[in-house]
């Protein structure tokens, strides 16, 4: 269903409805009301249709009418519409229509609907009573609350009482408190519960007094309700500024003997209400033996803002035992207030391991250049948790002074240098690149591996020759595997996919055997022009290590993808979807068809056809030549977005008329190539969105096919 979007702003057009409703003009609110009544009557059969699915058009038309006529600038129209609407919710109207009209009243009615809704709360139909109650609950005018209170006075049925109490509580109706207080003693437990809950929501002074009384003398079975209502009321008044009054309520529950859940809630409330004034009592809880409460209190302290609080907390450290101190130092770090740094730094060499680790860890958040040397020394000297924490903090501390200090230490020697270089690497500090390359053979694998890994992240393709030199003769499986990944990562920054392996292949010529193995593995991942030939050459090597690496790489090679294509397109037919075009023979697939072909400049293996042509429901053709030095069976590996039809020398070998995303090698088709040149033609359809295709060739055994290459035509 479409609607007219912009409302005409002429004075004459008081009522703007949707396109299928004629605009109505009126001279007065009374006339307007009549017109609305007429409109409702027109829609009534549909809105009240016996079959649910037949109600949609009329009900939605009416809803739009309501939305359109209840803007802030259309209060006259809103009132007239509501009055009209209330004329048509009587029992003579079909029930579904009554319900629908009342649900609209719920969102637009005000004073004008209250008497009618009050009456409907006595309707014989339960769903009408309930819908009227909800409409009053959501009506902002005071008269609506008065109507709900009057109904509550009359109510006998506990379910109805409960619903009314709930509505009044939801409205935070202060005037209802006396009635609700009485109902806290109702014989029906649910009504009593709901009444206590409503007092917690309303949270005015009378409610607070009533709840205080209930806390002193809690009726059996209402304990949880009273506690919860008290907490909610306290939170509400704290937010409204009555923080000390709220704190008094929370304090009632902050007793060592109180159930844990109540005490946890009390502590949250005390911290929120009293702020810095809560610090002493929270510190006392940190010193309690219960680890759970200690943790909760520490987290509360963590979230109280202010440097004055930080000062109080750091001053308290000296008086705590080691276990408490560790928790507090950690919390001081999480607060992120650097004013705690000097005090916390005193514990960087603490005898207690937990305290020391906590202090080192806290530096992650509050450390600066002044603690870098201490952390580097810890990382270079200690082991285990202290070293891990120091390395972590060195990684995450922010500031140029931190960088400067790390660089300075990276010029030193021994473990200080190694750890500083490690820090520079994980901090991705480009100026430290040469220092990093000098540490790739560090005796500690936990230094050299992250260094090598981050060289991969930072180095540019132009750095490859010196990176390859730095990676010569690396030892250790993890080190070599990381180095291979680093080389691949650096090569991946070369924009043209087919050129990415060149520098590595060049490096193969002069590398010593163990480095050659590393480069073979990297070439096998990077691929590109000349990679296959280079690996085949290495597979002939007399060095068994090199031979094995190359043979293994060739076995895992998979298809060789084509990166040299000619393109013709786009082709389309009026009104035809891409799936309809699939079997339409355009010029490129006709034996003597005259098509215009252009070379695809992009040398990637996945052809992004949207770079060549744009449009939905079109198709295009890709053509290349396969040259084989013998007749042989091969597997064509085809991927397309959307559908694809593939010909080899004019014979259809794959046909997928569908909408799909591109995935290399999704279709695998066995074909027999003749010796010499075969023509490969792909027709790729495009519905909408991405438009891609790719095609590769592998041997039936999975490796690269021997003596096969692609050549542009």
């Amino acid at each position: 269903m479409k609607c007219r979007y912009s409302a005409p702003a002429t004075i004459a057009t008081l009522l703007v409805v949707w396109t299928f409703v004629q605009p109505v003009t009126a001279a007065s609110a009374a006339d307007l009301e009549k017109q609305f009544v007429a409109k409702i009557d027109e829609l009534m059969p549909g809105m009240g249709a016996a079959k649910i699915e037949d109600r949609k058009d009329a009900q939605m038309t009416f809803e739009h009418l309501c939305f359109e006529n209840s803007t802030p600038a259309k209060q006259i129209e809103r009132k007239a519409l509501c009055k009209a609407l209330m004329q048509r919710v009587g029992s003579d109207v079909a029930l579904p229509a009554r319900v629908w009209l009342l649900r609209k009243v719920e969102t637009i009615g005000r004073e004008e609907v209250v008497p009618g809704l009050a009456q409907l709360m006595g309707d014989k139909e339960e769903i009408i009573r309930e819908t009227a109650r909800r409409a009053l609950a959501n009506n902002p005018v005071p008269a609506a609350a008065a109507a709900l209170r009057a109904e509550l006075d009359k109510a006998q049925n506990p379910v109805w009482k409960l619903a009314l109490v709930k509505a009044l509580g939801w409205r935070r109706d202060v005037a209802a408190v006396p009635q609700i207080v009485k109902l806290t003693a109702d014989g029906n437990a649910e009504v009593a519960h709901a009444s206590v809950a409503a007092l917690g929501t309303i949270a005015d002074s009378a409610s607070l007094t009533a709840l205080a009384q209930l806390r002193k003398q809690t009726p059996k079975g209402l304990e949880n309700a009273v506690n919860d209502a008290s907490f909610r009321a306290a939170q509400t008044i704290a937010t409204a500024g009555k923080k000390w009054q709220a704190a008094d309520i929370f304090e009632e529950y902050n007793k060592a003997a109180a159930p844990e859940a109540l005490r946890i809630t009390a502590l949250q409330g005390i911290a929120a209400a009293k702020g810095a004034y809560a610090v002493p009592e929270l510190l006392m809880i940190v010193a309690e033996p219960c680890p759970r409460m200690r943790l909760v209190a520490a987290c509360c302290l963590q979230r109280i803002p202010g440097s004055d609080v930080t000062r109080k907390l750091t001053a308290a450290l000296a008086g705590l035992n080691a276990e408490q101190k560790a928790v507090m130092i950690e919390m001081l770090g999480r607060r992120g207030d650097a004013s705690a740094r000097a005090e916390v730094a005193k514990y960087l060499q603490d005898k207690d391991a937990d305290v020391q680790v906590a202090a080192i860890g806290a530096m992650r958040y509050i450390g600066n250049g002044s603690v870098v040397q201490a952390l580097v020394e810890i990382a270079g000297k200690d082991t285990g948790a202290a070293r891990d924490a120091a390395r972590d903090s060195l990684k995450w501390m922010t500031g140029k002074d931190v960088d400067a200090e790390v660089l300075k230490l990276a010029q030193q020697s021994g473990r200080i240098k190694a750890e500083a270089v490690r820090a520079a690497a994980v901090r991705l500090m480009k100026p430290a690149m040469d220092a990093m390359l000098s540490c790739t053979h560090d005796s500690d694998e936990s230094v050299r591996v992250p260094v090598i890994y981050n060289v991969g992240k930072l180095a540019k393709p132009a750095d490859l020759p010196k990176v390859m030199r730095a990676f010569a003769k690396l030892e250790g499986d993890q080190t070599r595997s990381t180095a291979k990944d680093a080389l691949v990562r650096i090569c991946s920054r070369i924009p043209e996919e087919s050129k990415r392996g060149k520098l590595l292949i060049d490096g193969l010529a002069s590398a010593e055997p163990s480095t050659k193995v590393l480069l073979i593995q990297a070439v096998a991942s990077v691929r590109g022009e000349g990679a296959l030939e280079a690996l085949r050459k290495c597979a002939q090597s007399e060095d068994s290590q090199i031979k094995q690496a190359a043979v293994s790489a060739l076995a895992d090679w998979g298809p060789v993808y084509c990166s040299t294509w000619a393109y013709s397109g786009p082709y389309k037919k009026d009104g035809a979807k891409h799936t309809d075009l699939f079997d339409v023979a355009f010029a490129p697939e006709e034996p003597n068809g005259k098509a215009e072909w252009k070379q695809v400049k992009d040398k990637g293996y996945d052809v992004d056809l949207k770079k060549l042509d744009k449009g939905d429901n079109i198709c295009g053709y890709l053509r290349t030549q396969i040259v084989s030095d013998k007749q042989q069976d091969v597997i064509l590996c085809i991927g397309s977005d959307d559908g694809v039809k593939v010909w080899v020398d004019g014979v259809v070998v794959d046909s997928k008329n569908m909408s799909r995303g591109h995935k290399r090698g999704e279709d695998e088709v066995k074909v027999t190539l003749k010796k010499g040149v075969s023509t490969l033609l792909l027709k790729v359809t495009q519905g909408n969105g991405d438009w891609f295709a790719s095609c590769g060739i592998k041997s039936p055994q999975g490796g690269p096919a021997d003596g096969v290459s692609f050549e542009a035509k």
């Binding site: 649910i52 619903a163 939801w170 949250q268 950690e330 500031g399 920054r493």
Partner: protein
């Protein structure tokens, strides 16, 4: 002072682990075997809702040796029974025991939440139940993983934040894209200025929910229809109305859901707000402007034809458009970044390839959405998609829906959480609840 929350810390863990409640019924022979944490350190979890999403989480929790699933609640008897059986079989196999008993099933969530031995619950019920169940859970001292969209209304979102803070609970919103490194990277790059001054963000999700008209059908056996409806207005049963299928079902119905604007918006608008540094308490747009008609629930509007959410950001006034993008598209003066599941792309290319240094903006790095939640249960820190984050995201989505449905601009005060100058629009901030369902605010 910014709160810094990161992965679990051993001191906090140590304290929390010692205090963790013992599971309900777990054989002593299971202590610490086969990589399982000892029962006294395992987090006991109840599932509330085991349909599409809850059922999706369930096997992962059974495999997780840090937790013990002890209870299942669903209004569909067949589903809850089958999940109990699945858990018992799995636990019996893990313990190399012939039998394992100890998973209780419930039709009423209140009964599950009344159990003092349950530490935490995963809530994966339809949207119109989220706030009621989650607040009830927090009140009963449970930590919560609540599926997104966090709530059905704005007032519910505000109430849920208050409740979680009041009771000192941990709540992880199930907007798990925050725990995905691609989304985090995109936001870090934007906030580190890699695309220059941020000019706009485009969020590609489909439209709001609608009134739906399903014919009446007999209620299927074992299905508690009244309880499924719960606080929503009464309607006759229909299989499609209460189906959880992603392409239709209750997600399309306005009484139970905000449609794709909230279902997917809880993911993509969440990332947009993360990227512009506008999430958590007091965050949100100050104006929402519809530039075209309300789109269908299956339709994503063209750029400039959908909503414009206007934010005050570090870059000035930043518009976030509801329009066509592959996920979320950040456009700056020096480039663009687009991110979606399994996809991140920048223009120029090297923006996403150039690594961020220690001095760039680094956002909370989650070890995985479930693991982050479990860590926070132990260390009492706030998880990556804390209740305030989930609430600020879903409030934005709801404001979008209100603007679409009413066909007019909305002015919003994010600090006060109120619509400005439009009383009838304000009445969409909440929905009165049916029958006995009351929300504790």
């Amino acid at each position: 002072m910014a709160e810094r929350t990161r992965v679990s810390r051993r001191n906090l863990l140590k304290g929390a682990a010692a205090a963790m409640a013992a599971p309900y019924i777990v054989s002593a022979s299971a202590l610490g075997k086969n990589g399982w944490k000892p029962a006294s350190e395992r987090i006991t979890v109840g599932f509330i809702g085991v349909g599409n999403m809850g059922g999706g989480h369930f096997p992962g929790f059974l495999d997780d040796k840090q937790v013990q699933v002890v209870a299942v609640c669903d209004v569909d008897a067949k589903k809850r029974k089958s999940h109990c059986e699945m858990a018992e079989k799995k636990y019996a196999a893990d313990r190399q025991a012939g039998q394992f008993k100890g998973i209780e099933d419930y039709n009423e969530f209140e009964k599950l939440l009344a159990r003092p031995d349950i530490d935490a619950v995963l809530i994966a019920v339809p949207d119109h139940w989220h706030a009621t169940v989650a607040i009830y859970a927090a009140r009963h001292g449970k930590d919560v993983y609540c599926e997104k969209p966090l709530t059905l209304t704005i007032r519910e979102a505000q109430a849920l934040v208050k409740a979680v803070r009041r009771y000192g609970r941990v709540l992880q919103t199930g907007s798990q894209q925050r725990s995905d490194s691609n989304f985090r990277l995109a936001c870090e790059l934007v906030r580190s200025g890699r695309i220059g001054k941020l000019e706009k963000v485009t969020v590609g999700v489909a439209g709001p929910s609608q009134e739906r008209y399903f014919p009446e059908q007999p209620v299927r056996e074992g299905f508690d229809w009244e309880r499924w409806l719960g606080p929503a207005p009464w309607q006759p049963y229909n299989e499609d109305r209460c189906s959880g299928n992603y392409g239709g079902g209750w997600r399309h119905v306005r009484d139970y859901s905000g449609g794709m604007m909230t279902d997917w918006g809880a993911h993509h608008f969440d990332i947009a707000q993360w990227g512009i540094g506008h999430d958590g308490e007091g965050a949100g747009p100050f104006e929402i402007i519809p530039h075209g008609p309300c789109p269908d629930i299956r339709e994503t509007p063209e750029e400039g034809k959908g909503l414009e959410f206007r934010y005050k950001t570090q870059w000035g006034i930043t518009p976030v458009f509801h329009g066509k993008a592959n996920g979320i598209l950040f456009t700056g003066t020096d480039g663009k970044i687009e991110v979606n599941r399994g996809y991140i792309k920048s223009w120029p290319d090297d923006i996403v390839l150039e690594p961020l240094s220690a001095n760039d903006v680094h956002l909370y790095e989650s070890p995985g959405h479930r693991q982050d939640w479990l860590n926070c249960i132990r260390n009492r820190q706030r998880p990556i998609c804390d209740v305030a984050v989930g609430a600020s995201t879903i409030m934005t989505c709801h404001l979008g829906n209100i603007a679409y449905w009413l066909g007019r601009s909305i002015k919003w005060d994010p600090a006060k959480g109120e619509i400005i100058g439009d009383e009838e629009a304000s009445r969409w901030l909440d929905r009165p609840k049916r029958g006995p369902w009351r929300l504790y605010v």
